[in-house]
């Protein structure tokens, strides 16, 4: 750890409550003791996003802490996934999508002209809502990122594949059929394979877009255990519809509503003692 980083860590950021524009800027801070969080890895400053004329995100500000799991919750269409897809600039693919404001990862703006987008995406991995293994063998799926990066040595690839399948808790189930098609795996296995594939490129941040929404409870439990383990090593941002899931796996939770962040705090606080009535209504199931 460099001294600079250490200093950043000691600086101890205040948890950003809500962003400046969204509801009720005056918040009862007196009940909180000063929360300390590690240095942020992802800093979002005044990000607004437009699909053509339609505004999908409204001046979002937030700092996502390092090596923690942060969950985005909120009703459908509130912009959770859109915000997530800003972090690896996957929104660039959408026609007519325009972003204002700035996002920095490791203090470096991802919109800088000198940022190589493929390089950015190697540092910001992503797991999708619907498992999307490539129509290749299990081995080739995990080795894909390394091959893209130009690694072709068999022994190196073997190591990468084994290490990451183990990290994704899939190794024991597939070690004897690495060359079978990934399409033969069950839904939960496919999703863990996608996680293995994403972490095989050793990203700083792992984005997860409702990774369990298409899975049964047992497969979901496995993935949740996995997330708990992975956050030791990676910064995880997870979008979820399932509030129990958010409370189980995440350290911080942001509640979003129609393009705004209503409240962003520790998961415990959001679920047990939210500052906003709106948040309380949502997490207690009164709407949404």
């Amino acid at each position: 750890m460099t001294t600079g980083e250490a200093m950043v860590q000691q600086q101890e950021f205040n948890v950003p409550g809500t962003n400046g524009v969204s509801p009720a800027p005056e918040q009862p801070r007196k009940s909180e003791k000063a929360k300390t969080v590690p240095a942020p890895l992802v800093e979002v400053e005044n990000v607004s996003l437009f699909y053509g004329e339609k505004q999908a995100l409204r001046e979002i500000n937030m700092n996502i802490p390092r090596k923690k799991a942060t969950a985005f919750i909120g009703p459908s269409g509130c912009g959770k996934s859109t915000l997530l897809r800003c972090f690896n600039r996957l929104n660039d693919l959408v026609d007519g999508c325009r972003i204002e404001g700035n996002i920095s990862i490791n203090r470096k703006s991802i919109f800088d002209p000198d940022v190589d987008i493929t390089d950015l995406r190697k540092r910001v991995g992503m797991v999708f809502q619907k498992s999307n293994p490539f129509p290749k063998s299990i081995y080739e799926n995990v080795a894909y990122g390394a091959r893209i990066a130009g690694v072709n040595k068999k022994s190196v690839l073997d190591n990468i594949v084994e290490k990451n399948l183990k990290r994704a808790a899939l190794w024991n189930e597939v070690s004897d059929r690495l060359n079978d098609s990934a399409m033969g795996l069950s839904g939960g296995q496919q999703q863990r394979l996608c996680i293995a594939r994403a972490i095989a490129v050793e990203p700083d941040v792992l984005l997860m877009d409702e990774p369990c929404s298409a899975l049964d409870p047992i497969a979901t439990a496995k993935i949740e255990d996995l997330i708990t383990e992975l956050k030791e090593k990676f910064t995880i941002v997870i979008v979820t519809h399932n509030m129990q899931q958010a409370s189980r796996v995440s350290d911080y939770t942001a509640f979003m509503y129609i393009g705004d962040i209503v409240e962003f705090d520790t998961t415990e606080k959001i679920f047990l003692n939210p500052a906003k009535k709106h948040t309380e209504d949502y997490v207690s199931g009164k709407f949404g």
């Binding site: 996957l90 992503m126 999708f128 498992s131 999307n132 293994p133 129509p135 990122g145 893209i148 839904g187």
Partner: protein, 539 residues
């Protein structure tokens, strides 16, 4: 009435009926072609038909039809039969219609012989005697027929040898002389005064001519060998006919064969039909060059059409900005698939033969002019014309395949830091491969059956050389070739002997269908393998 329509039962019946009609038509077509074609090779028993006017014929029954009420037929009988009587040299025609009322008696003599000949079609008759090395074996001898068969086999071996010399040694000599001749011509055309080179070429020509003399002598010897032994036959009416054994391809006695023997004979003939070259204006012998030409042409076409079609579809679907222009291009591509094939043929003649072929000739084959090399029909131009004809099919199928690759698979690849190019080549195209191969299957099916554009871009009735042989560069793309589809047309409508060609038409049609099926099944097997390998997620 509304009760009948509302539950939809009537729709089910109607759609079922429509499907049934289609199936019956396809089944009927295949059945007709298969029976008429495959049946023609079966060694039908040969009957001795004695007519009321005293004349006799040895013939194989080929058909029977009603003549009652037929125009201009004055006959007491209700039916007439069609006999294959052979002996075209005696009767003028191989086939004869006989009214059943005119037949006095029919019997099936066991010793009736059919000789398949190199010329004049089949001979039906009885063995009188064999003249072997000046020795006479009478036809009544129990061994006579097997001696005849042995002699025919020997004669066939000599024919094979002759063919080997003609195609091999003499082919080489001709090829060499032509090459040297062109070299000399090239020298004089360029106005080069190079006596050394000239002398060298002339010397080589002389050497070739010497080689030719040797082969010629050898050939002469073999030809006399063919006429040394003779067979004397008697026709049904008792006319004697002396034939050198070299003229005979095959001798058999259908009435003396059991079912197993006939089946074996059938298989042998069927094989011969596939691997032999045609004889007698294509009405006899096999169709190997046509099969070879068809398959080779389809291969060349596939090799050309696949990359073009796939790349064009890739650009249209993945890279081009979707808008009015792309929509117009897409409509044009779809319409191109509906343009009559002869139009492509005309384009092929104008663009490939005269345009590109003419340029190639004037640059690389100046010496051979005014004889065109590439400036005339050939297998390359025919394949390219067909590739042009089928490229829309491949483009449309590939585009559909690309469109069906789920967006989240592309995003998965991009999210791992792959560029668009890497994503396309490593993930999208493999996923779309089954659909791309479906396009190829459709293209092959269309190209194999196409005749019209080929007739003007390189197909001929009889091609002396296959497009692949032992002379460098082994694959001769400028050569004309034979094609099954054109062969059917040629046999059916251009043949001097329509009756004899009829079974060949059906056989050829049957084989053409068989080849389309084989090519398609091969492609389907490959596609299914890929589909298993690249199946898109079922979850």
């Amino acid at each position: 009435m509304p009760r009948l329509w509302k539950p939809g039962d009537a729709y089910v019946w109607i759609s079922g009926l429509a499907l049934m009609v289609t199936l019956v038509m396809i089944g009927g077509l295949l059945f007709l072609i298969a029976t008429k074609g495959l049946g023609s090779l079966w060694p039908v028993d040969i009957g001795r038909y004695t007519l009321t006017d005293g004349s006799t014929y040895l013939g194989q029954l080929q058909g029977r039809e009603s003549v009652r009420g037929a125009h201009g037929v004055k006959s007491e009988s209700e039916f007439r039969v069609k006999l294959k009587i052979g002996n075209r040299d005696l009767y003028g025609l191989d086939f004869k219609w006989i009214d059943e009322a005119d037949i006095a008696s029919i019997d099936y003599p066991r010793d009736a012989v059919i000789l398949e000949r190199h010329e004049w079609g089949n001979y039906h008759g009885f063995l009188k005697e064999i003249r072997k090395n000046g020795q006479i074996i009478p036809g009544g001898d129990p061994q006579a027929f097997s001696v005849l068969k042995d002699l025919v086999r020997d004669a066939n071996k000599i024919h094979d040898e002759i063919l080997k010399i003609e195609k091999g040694e003499i082919g080489d000599v001709n090829y060499g002389i032509e090459k040297q001749r062109l070299k000399l011509r090239g020298l004089s055309m360029r106005g080069e005064d190079n006596p050394a080179k000239e002398a060298e070429a002339r010397l080589k020509i002389e050497q070739y001519e010497a080689r030719y003399k040797i082969s010629e002598a050898e050939l002469g010897k073999l030809y006399t060998e063919l006429t040394r032994n003779e067979v004397v036959m008697l026709s049904a009416a008792g006319d004697e006919k002396v034939m050198p054994l070299g003229k005979i391809v095959m001798a058999f006695r259908p009435n003396d064969m059991g079912f197993a023997q006939k089946a074996g004979f059938y298989v042998e003939r069927f094989w011969g039909f596939i691997v032999d070259e045609p004889r007698e204006a294509n009405t006899e012998g096999g169709i190997f060059p046509a099969i070879f030409g068809t398959v080779l042409m389809v291969f060349i076409m596939s090799i050309v059409v696949m990359p073009f079609g796939i790349l064009a579809a890739l650009y249209l679907r993945e890279y081009a900005k979707q808008g009015l222009m792309v929509r117009i291009v897409r409509i044009c591509v779809n319409n191109l698939a509906g343009v009559p094939s002869i139009v492509f043929g005309v384009f092929g003649v104008g663009f490939f033969l005269y345009g590109i072929g003419g340029i190639i000739d004037s640059v690389f084959f100046k010496e051979a002019l005014p004889n065109p090399t590439f400036g005339t029909g050939g297998i390359l131009w025919a394949s390219l014309t067909l590739a042009l004809l089928t490229v829309p099919v491949v483009i449309v199928a590939t585009e559909e395949g690309l469109a069906s690759v789920p967006r989240n698979i592309r995003e998965g690849s991009l999210a791992l830091g792959a560029t668009k190019f890497e994503t396309t080549w490593k993930v999208v195209i493999p996923s779309a491969l089954p659909a791309i191969l479906t396009g190829l299957i459709l293209a092959i099916a269309r190209a194999t059956g196409e005749v019209a554009p080929l007739m003007i871009t390189g197909v001929v009735k009889l091609a002396p050389d296959l497009p692949i042989d032992g002379h460098f560069p082994f694959l001769h793309l400028e050569r004309k070739f034979m094609h099954l589809g054109f062969h059917i047309y040629d046999l059916g409508f251009q043949s001097p002997n329509a009756e004899a060609a009829k079974p060949m038409v059906f056989m050829t049609a049957f084989l053409l269908i068989l080849i389309v099926v084989i090519l398609n099944i091969t492609a389907i097997i490959i596609r299914n393998r890929l589909r298993k390998k690249y199946a898109t997620s079922a979850v």
